[in-house]
Amino acid sequence: MKPAPFAYHRPTTLAEALETLAGESYAKVLAGGQSLVPLLSMRIAAPQALVDINALPGLDTIEVSEAGVRVGALVRHADLLADPDVRRVQPLVPAALAHVAHPTIRNRGTTVGSIVHADAAAEMPVVLSLLGGSVEAASSTGTRTIPADELFLGPLESALRPDEIATSAFFPALPAGAGVAFEEISRRQGDYALAGVAVVVHGDSVRAGFVSVSDVPTVVDLTGVPDDGLGEAALAHLDPADDIHATADYRAQLVRTLVRRVVTKAREAAA
C-alpha cells in the first residue's frame, strides 16, 4: 500500500498553483489529504502530479459575518468545529463536523476538501446543500462561485474543473428564529454514517439533508408534511442502497427514525 510515483509541486502563491495545475494533464490538489492519501496508497488513484496547496497564504482563514461563514481551503475541520463565532452564526456546521471521522482526522482534513470530494456519505457536502451555500473556485482564467445545488453532479463527482482550485466555501448564516439539528447512525463511532440527517426548521419551513442514502447529497423539502409522514416523504426522494453493512430496508428504517428525531430537535432549537 504505497502510492505510485507522482510529480510534486508546492507553490507559494495561488497564481503559481493555478498555473501549475493548468500545465498538468492529470493532477490532484493536496490539502488535508485525509481522503486522497488512502486512495493514492491503495493505488485506486494515481495522478501524475500533486499540487500541494498547504504553503499558499491566506487560505487558512475563517471569516464570520452576519451573512454567514466563509471557510478557506486550508481550514481544518477541527478549527472550524472549535470556532465559537461559527457556532453562533451557523450552528449546523459544528453539529455536523462533530460527526466527521475522528478528531485526529479532523486535525488535518479540510472542510473545503471534504465538500469538493463530493461524497454523498460525507456530512459537509449535504450541509452545504441544505444551507444553500456555495464554493469559490479559482483557475488561471478567473474565479467563479458555484452554488451548492450546481456543485454535486454524481457520486464523488463535483462541478469543479480539473484546472480549478476551490479556495473557499460559504455557509449562509442561520436566520433568526430558525433551528437546526444533525444526527447520524454509524456502525462504529467515527465511521461513515449508515444514514444521517441534517434539518433546518424556519417558521413553517422544514428542510432536511440526507447522508449515505442517495448517490449525491440530497435535500428534501418537508414543509407541511405531518410528523408521521416525514420518513416516507423523505424516502420518496432518496435511494438507500444495500451494502455489506446494511440493507436498503434498514437504511430506510434509519431515515424514518432519524428524520423524526432530528426535526423534533431542530424545532426545539428554533423555539
Binding site: 504505497k2 505510485a4 510515483p5 447512525i185 453493512h245 446494511a246 440493507t247 428504517q253 427514525t257
Partner: protein, 796 residues
C-alpha cells in the same frame, strides 16, 4: 524477607521499552536504506488457472533486484518448488492440500501468492508488481459453506464434493439415547468468518552471512523453532545454519502460529541469493486477503433431554469452512467438536464434522480456535432446552454440570493433542454462583420491568465454557546465573504481548531467591533455546512457566551444592535471599550468587577481579579433576516440562444488553466474567488478557465478519470496512471475579488464560439479544441491520 511475587500485580518490565518507542518489531529490524524490500503479486481471482506470466516490463524498473514466479523456485532448492508442508496430519484428513510458495498452475483464493519481487524499497517493489502481466483463465469460485456442500463446482479437481475430511467421535449409541429421551429439539446454527487482525501484520527479515555460511531470520511468529525447521528443510540448509529470532511481535492471536508463510521462505532465499538483507512487511490489505481467517461453521444439533433438562443424547453435525488449503490440519474443527461439551456431561455424545474446501483464504486457529463455535452450539442448546421446559437458564446448566468431586473427568473423546479429553479440575457450580451475583441474575426481572416502563428493551444472557490449555508436547528453559549475579533466562516459545518477560521473571525470582530486577528473560530466539514448540492454545504460562520454574530449581540446586562445599555447611541449612546464599540463622556466613557462578567455572585465564578467584592456582582440589565427572562448568539450570495431557481452565460470562426498538442498535449495558485458570501468576496480566479477549469477542459478536461476494472477492479488506471495535464499541467496565482451582498437573497449579475471554462472547450476546427480542438468534455476528431484518421476519 523477600515476598513471593507469584500472585502479585507486578508491573511489566517490557513496557519500559515499548513506552519509549524502543520496541523492536520486525519492521524495525535493519530499518536502514541498505535493506531491500519485497512485495508479492497476489491473485485477483478466487479460482483461476495461470495461462501466462509476462515479466518483460519488470526488470526495466530501476531499483528492482529480483522477480520470481514458481518456475524460478526449483533452481533455488528443489524442496522450495514443492507444496508447503501440511503441518499437522490427521488420519481423517484424507484430502489434505497445501499451496505452493508461489502458485504453480492454479490459484484458489484472492490473495494467493503468485510472484515475488525484491527492490530497493517497497514503493518500487509495488511499481514492479503493477508491471507483471498475468493471463488468467478464470474458473468458477466456490464461496461459502452452502456452495461448497452443493459441490456444483470443485475447489480442487481431485477432491470429490469439496470434502477434505470427515471425522466422527462418539461416547455411545446416540440414536438410542435420543430415542429414549423424553424431549427432543433441533437447532440450526451459523457462525461467520472473522480473523485475528493483530495491529502488526506478518513480516520477515533475513540476512545471509556469507563469511560463516549462515542464515539469520527475524520473523513475526508464534513459533520460531517451527519456522526454523521449515526454512532449513525448504532451502536445503542444515538446521545448524539457520537462526530464527522473534523480535517484539505486535499481536498474534493465532494467525502467526501458522508457518511457514510463503514469505518466510522466499525472503531468506532472496537474501541468500542477493547477499543483501531483505525485508517483507505485510500491509493491511494483504493481511486480510492472504493471512488466515477462522470461525466459519454451520452446525446442526439434535438433543434429547429429560424433564430437568439433563441431556440424555447430544448429536452434533457441523461443517467447517477451512478455505482453500489445509496446512494446519483439522485442529480447529477437532477443538470445536471436543470442547463443545464445556462443563457438561451429556449421557451420550456424538459429533461428526466435515472440513470443507472453499475458494477463500485459509483457516487456521484464531484466539479460541474453534471453541467459540463449540460454545455457541452448546450454550444455544442449553438456552433452547430451558425455554422449552420453561426453566431458568442457569438451572438447566447446573443440572448438567460435572460436579467438583468428579475430577479427573474423562469425556471419552480424543482431544487436539491426540490424548484423552480428561478434565483435571474445576468447580463449575461455584463459578455459576459467583456469576449470578456479579451480573445480578436474580435482580434482572425487576430491572427489566423498570426499564420497560421507560420504553426500553433489555435482555440477559450467559454462557459457560471449558478450555483445554497448556497442550504439549513440551517446552524448555535455560537459566544462567552470570558472575555478576544477574540471571539470564531463555525459553523457546515466543511472546506477542502477554508479558512473558515479567511473569517468567516473577517465577525465577521466587524460585531462585533473586531480585526481580536481576532477571532477564529472552523468548523465541533459537540461538538461546533451540528446542521449543510455540505460543498458542493458552500454553505459555503452563508450559514455559513450568519449565522455567524447573530450570530455576536446577540452578538453585547447583548453587546450593557449590555453596555448601565452599561454606562447609549442609545444603539443608542454606537459603537464598536477594541473590545471596546464606546460612539459615547466621546470615553473616554468606556467598552471593555471582561468586558461586565464579566458583562453578574453573578458569585458566583471569579477566577481572571476580574471575581471578576461579583460576587454577586459586581454587580446586589438586587431587580431583577441576570439573567432576558428573558435573559441568557454569552456574546454570536447564529443564523441560512435558505433561501427559492438557489442563482445563473454565469460566462463565453474562451480559445485559439493550436493543433499540427503532434502530435495532445493540448496547451492552453490563458484562460480567467469572474466570478460573488455577493459581494466578500476575492477576493484572490475567485481567488484561480477559479484557482483550472479551473485546475481541464483542467484535466477533456484533461487528466483525469477512464479507466475501459470490465471486470470492473480499469486500471489506480494510480497517474502514472490517469493523474492529474502538473503545466506543466496548462496554465501559468489564466486571471480573476469579476462582482459583489449581491444576494438579503442574508444579505451579496454573492453567492457561490467553484465549478464555473470547470464547463465550457470541453465545452470551446472542442469548441476551434473544432474551430482549423474544425470537431465536441462531447466526452470529449480528449487526443492527441483521436484527432489523429478523424483526421484520418475526412480525410478518
Amino acid at each position: 524477607m523477600t515476598t513471593k511475587l507469584m500472585g502479585q500485580k507486578v508491573q511489566r518490565t517490557e513496557d519500559q521499552r515499548f513506552l519509549r518507542g524502543q520496541g523492536r518489531y520486525v519492521d524495525d529490524v535493519h530499518a536502514d536504506p541498505s535493506t531491500l524490500h519485497a512485495a508479492v503479486l497476489r491473485s485477483p481471482h478466487a479460482h483461476a488457472r495461470i495461462v501466462d506470466i509476462d515479466m518483460s516490463d519488470v526488470l526495466d524498473v530501476e531499483g528492482v533486484h529480483l522477480v520470481w514466479t514458481h518456475e524460478d523456485l526449483g533452481s533455488l532448492s528443489p524442496e522450495l518448488a514443492e507444496p508447503l508442508p501440511l503441518l499437522i496430519p490427521h488420519p481423517d484428513l484424507t484430502q489434505g492440500r497445501t499451496q505452493y510458495a508461489l502458485a504453480r498452475e492454479e490459484v484458489n483464493y484472492v490473495g494467493e501468492a503468485v510472484a515475488f519481487v525484491v527492490a530497493e524499497d517497497r514503493y518500487i517493489a509495488e511499481d514492479a508488481l503493477d508491471r507483471i502481466k498475468v493471463t488468467w483463465e478464470v474458473l468458477p469460485a466456490v464461496v461459502g459453506i452452502e456452495a461448497s456442500r452443493a459441490a456444483e463446482h470443485l475447489v480442487h479437481e481431485d477432491v470429490p464434493d469439496n470434502v477434505g475430511a470427515r471425522s466422527e467421535q462418539n461416547t455411545g449409541d446416540v440414536e438410542a439415547a435420543l430415542a429414549r429421551a423424553p424431549h427432543r429439539l433441533q437447532l440450526e446454527l451459523d457462525i461467520e468468518r472473522s480473523a485475528c487482525t493483530p495491529l502488526e501484520g506478518r513480516g520477515t527479515v533475513a540476512r545471509w552471512d556469507a563469511d560463516t555460511n549462515r542464515l539469520q531470520v527475524w520473523t513475526s511468529t508464534q513459533t520460531s523453532t517451527g519456522v526454523r525447521a521449515a526454512i532449513a528443510v525448504k532451502l536445503g540448509l542444515d538446521l545448524g545454519q539457520v537462526d530464527v529470532i522473534t523480535p517484539d511481535v505486535g499481536g498474534g492471536f493465532g494467525v502467526k502460529v501458522m508457518h511457514p508463510w510463503p514469505e518466510e521462505l522466499l525472503v531468506p532465499a532472496a537474501a541468500r541469493l542477493l547477499g543483501r538483507t531483505v525485508k517483507f512487511t505485510e500491509d493491511r490489505r494483504e493481511h486480510f486477503i492472504s493471512s488466515a481467517h477462522e470461525r466459519g461453521q454451520v452446525q446442526h444439533i439434535d438433543v434429547g433431554f429429560d424433564d430437568e433438562g439433563r441431556i440424555v443424547g447430544l448429536d452434533v453435525m457441523f461443517w467447517h469452512d477451512h478455505g482453500a488449503y489445509t496446512p494446519y490440519g483439522l485442529i480447529v474443527p477437532i477443538i470445536t467438536s471436543t470442547q463443545l461439551l464445556g462443563p457438561y456431561k451429556p449421557e451420550v455424545y456424538r459429533v461428526v464434522f466435515e472440513s470443507i474446501y472453499t475458494n477463500t483464504v485459509i483457516v487456521t486457529p484464531y484466539r479460541g480456535a474453534g471453541r467459540p463455535q463449540g460454545c455457541f452450539a452448546m450454550e444455544r442448546t442449553m438456552d433452547k432446552i430451558a425455554a422449552y421446559l420453561g426453566k431458568d437458564r442457569t438451572e438447566v446448566r447446573a443440572a448438567n454440570f460435572i460436579q467438583p468431586d468428579e475430577f479427573p473427568f474423562d469425556q471419552g473423546l480424543i482431544f487436539q493433542d491426540g490424548r484423552e479429553l480428561e478434565y483435571d479440575s474445576g468447580d463449575y457450580p461455584a463459578s455459576l454462583e459467583k456469576l449470578k451475583k456479579l451480573i445480578g441474575w436474580e435482580e434482572f426481572p425487576a430491572l427489566r420491568e423498570e426499564l420497560a416502563a421507560q420504553g426500553r428493551t433489555v435482555g440477559i444472557g450467559l454462557a459457560c465454557y471449558v478450555e483445554g490449555t497448556g497442550v504439549g508436547p513440551y517446552e524448555g528453559a535455560h537459566v544462567h546465573i552470570e558472575t555478576s549475579g544477574k540471571v539470564k533466562v531463555a525459553t523457546g516459545l515466543t511472546t506477542q504481548g502477554q508479558g512473558h518477560a515479567t511473569v517468567f521473571a516473577q517465577l525465577v525470582a521466587d524460585e531462585l531467591g533473586v531480585r526481580f530486577e536481576d532477571v532477564e528473560v529472552v523468548t523465541g530466539d533459537t540461538r538461546r533455546m533451540p528446542y521449543a514448540v510455540g505460543t498458542f492454545a493458552s500454553r505459555a504460562a503452563v508450559m514455559s512457566g513450568s519449565a522455567i520454574h524447573l530450570a530455576a530449581k536446577r540452578a538453585k540446586e547447583k548453587a546450593l551444592r557449590i555453596a555448601s562445599d565452599a561454606l562447609e555447611v549442609d545444603e539443608a541449612d542454606l537459603e537464598i535471599v536477594e541473590g545471596v546464599v546464606r546460612v539459615k540463622g547466621s546470615p553473616e556466613s554468606r556467598l552471593d550468587l555471582g561468586t558461586i557462578a565464579v566458583l562453578s567455572n574453573p578458569l585458566r585465564y583471569a579477566f577481572d577481579e571476580a574471575s581471578k578467584a576461579a583460576t587454577q592456582f586459586a581454587v580446586g582440589d589438586p587431587g580431583k579433576p577441576p570439573v567432576a565427572e558428573d558435573d559441568e562448568p557454569g552456574l546454570e539450570g536447564k529443564d523441560f516440562y512435558s505433561p501427559q495431557r492438557a489442563t482445563f481452565a473454565s469460566g462463565m460470562h453474562a451480559a445485559i444488553v439493550e436493543t433499540d426498538p427503532d434502530t435495532a442498535e445493540v448496547t451492552i449495558l453490563k458484562y460480567a466474567v467469572v474466570h478460573d485458570c488455577g493459581h494466578l501468576i500476575n492477576p493484572m496480566i490475567v485481567e488484561g488478557q480477559i479484557h482483550g479477549g472479551v473485546a475481541q469477542g464483542i467484535g466477533g459478536a456484533l461487528y466483525e465478519r469477512m464479507a466475501y461476494d459470490p465471486s470470492g472477492q473480499l469486500l471489506n479488506a480494510s480497517f474502514m470496512d472490517f469493523l474492529m471495535p474502538y473503545v466506543t464499541e466496548i462496554p465501559d467496565g468489564i466486571d471480573i471475579d476469579h476462582l482459583e482451582t489449581p491444576s494438579p498437573l503442574n508444579p505451579l497449579g496454573i492453567k492457561g488464560a490467553g484465549e478464555a475471554g473470547v470464547i463465550p462472547v457470541s453465545a452470551v450476546v446472542a442469548a441476551a439479544i434473544e432474551d430482549a427480542e423474544g425470537f431465536p438468534i441462531t447466526a452470529m455476528p449480528i449487526s443492527p441491520s441483521d436484527l432489523h431484518t429478523l424483526r421484520q421476519e418475526h412480525t410478518s
